[in-house]
Amino acid sequence: MIAVRRFLSGGWLATYAFLYVAFLYLPVIFLPIFSVNTAATPKFPLTGFTLHWYEDLPRTPALLDAAWNSLIVGVSAAVLSTLLGILAARSITRYRYPGRSTIHGLIMAPLVLPEVIVAISMLLVMLQLGLSLSLFTVVLGHVLVCIPYSMTVLTSGFEGFDRSLEEASADLGESAFGTFRRVTLPMVAPAIISSLLVCFTISLDEFIIAFFLTGTEATLPIYIWGQLRFAAKLPGVLALGTLLLVASFLLMTVAEILRRRAARRTQNEGGLYA
């Protein structure tokens, strides 16, 4: 009983929380550690420090191609899914209409469907339509899985948006589009940038959809998948993984800061002017 009380009052919970977070970071930590180790097999004790594996990366043409492909796919997917996300998030947060929650549920569905099934059903349709697999089909798939994340970020930015600001703008003679561009857009801009970064990160790291829908052009995760077959290539993969980890971390940190700023802005300033 005393043990339970102490647990619920936070003493042991804090210890548990720290251990749990350590567990979450455990596998991620090994990427950078072994990527600077001289030995080709990742095991302890470490044999020495080297940047050799990193130096090899820019000398691998296949890797550079994959990075370029990932960049193209990531930027296209981020822009398209954010555009579609803006429309849907705006509609969801601003208007009431029949079927709203059903449509919302459908758009968010890729979040809870097994990704393999999403990928395979898209593959089936594309093959039947005679579409040849390419980076374009990968983008189509990535947009579908990015939209729910984009929606989450954007609705948190659009919610609590003070409608009277838009009404004031309309009353003062601004057109609907003018109001959106000059009043709404600046308020939600941080959320939009945040959504772009989140979608880019997801696309950069996404494997399953790309695996099924790509033709001959590999993205970074596909390249990594190919390298995993060769034990000798592991340190290079670890080095590449570390770089991707750092990139994802930076992008997500910026995205999170912007998302919070957007949420604060719409809620606080809205309230201030109301």
């Binding site: 749990y20 596998p27 095991k43 601003r94 459908l106 898209m122 579908l144 494997f207």
Partner: protein
């Protein structure tokens, strides 16, 4: 003048009415969401309908026979290999969701009730590892659990074992460990959100009325956070049933799951209808499991009151 005005007034009326209709909330809302909605219809709903259609057809070498048949489902549900794969996927996914929710609840509770002003920092710390490629996280577990891996070399260094253990990698336990790690954040976040909604005055009231911390937790906090537990369980369970990467990388022969078989049917075996039937069966099982989970947690919630 008057005739012209009379003549144009009905026209003006309809235009006004049309404008009113176009500016009405439902029409504007639907118009705004329609591009995204149509995108989801074309790239998600249509493909799934096509898969369902295929599951009732038969493949003859390169052509597809469109006569209705349930043969694919018979194979999917009765052939030992697919039956076993379905059961294993089910078992792994249920175990993973149970473990993940059990492990996630205390930390969500800690952040919500004792996080203070560091709440968002804690949440951010928890989400960071999940923005690394899924592939790389699974691969890291391979590095940890492998024959020459971190765990084996660590245990040997400490003198606990004499030679590397092969029992760590390439089995369903490795799949369970990896997935439990991979989905942790997706369980913590919904539970945290529902705990945040728990009215603190109710917990205080229970304590004031003489409930100990355990009783007030069991009778107030836990039932009120049930919606979060439900969504956490579903968010973990549904995608893990169809996971492809983890079984392929760390599962070995004994850890292969249904998604690997589905992929094989669409790839090498080139039997789309069977692959489709396996996909539909997986989706149906997922739906049934999700429904059952919701019902069970609701029943427990009612019992607690």
């Amino acid at each position: 003048m008057t005739a012209a005005a009379e003549g144009s007034s009905p026209l003006r009326m309809t235009r006004a009415r049309r404008n009113a209709l176009l500016q009405s909330e439902p029409v504007q809302g639907l118009a705004l969401i329609s591009p995204t909605f149509i995108y989801a219809l074309i790239l998600l709903v249509l493909p799934i309908l096509v898969v369902i259609a295929h599951s009732f057809w038969t493949q003859h070498y390169l052509t597809i026979d469109r006569t209705f048949t349930l043969e694919n489902y018979r194979v999917a549900l009765t052939e030992p290999i697919y039956r076993d794969l379905l059961w294993r996927s089910l078992y792994i996914s249920l175990t993973v969701s149970l473990l993940t929710v059990l492990l996630a609840y205390p930390i969500a509770y800690f952040i919500s009730f004792h996080g203070g002003r560091h709440k968002s920092l804690w949440l951010f710390l928890i989400t960071i590892p999940f923005w690394t490629s899924y592939l790389l996280r699974v691969m890291s577990w391979k590095v940890i659990l492998g024959y020459n891996g971190v765990l084996n070399s660590g245990l040997m260094g400490l003198g606990i074992i004499d030679e590397p253990s092969t029992a760590l990698l390439y089995n369903s336990s490795a799949v369970i460990i990896t997935l439990t790690h991979a989905w942790a954040a997706f369980a913590i976040l919904p539970i945290f959100v529902s705990l945040e909604k728990v009215d603190r005055t109710l917990v205080e009231a229970a304590t004031d009325l003489g409930d100990g911390p355990l009783r007030s937790f069991l009778r107030v906090t836990l039932p009120l956070s049930a919606p979060g537990v439900i969504s956490a369980a579903l968010i973990v369970m549904i995608p893990t049933v169809g996971d492809y990467v983890t079984p392929k990388l760390v599962g070995g022969k004994d850890g292969v799951m249904i998604a690997n078989a589905i992929q094989a049917q669409f790839g090498k075996a080139s039997n789309w209808p069977l692959g489709a039937a396996l996909s539909v069966t997986t989706m149906l099982i997922v739906t049934l499991m999700a429904g059952a989970t919701v019902l069970i947690i609701r029943a427990v919630q009612r019992l607690a009151r």
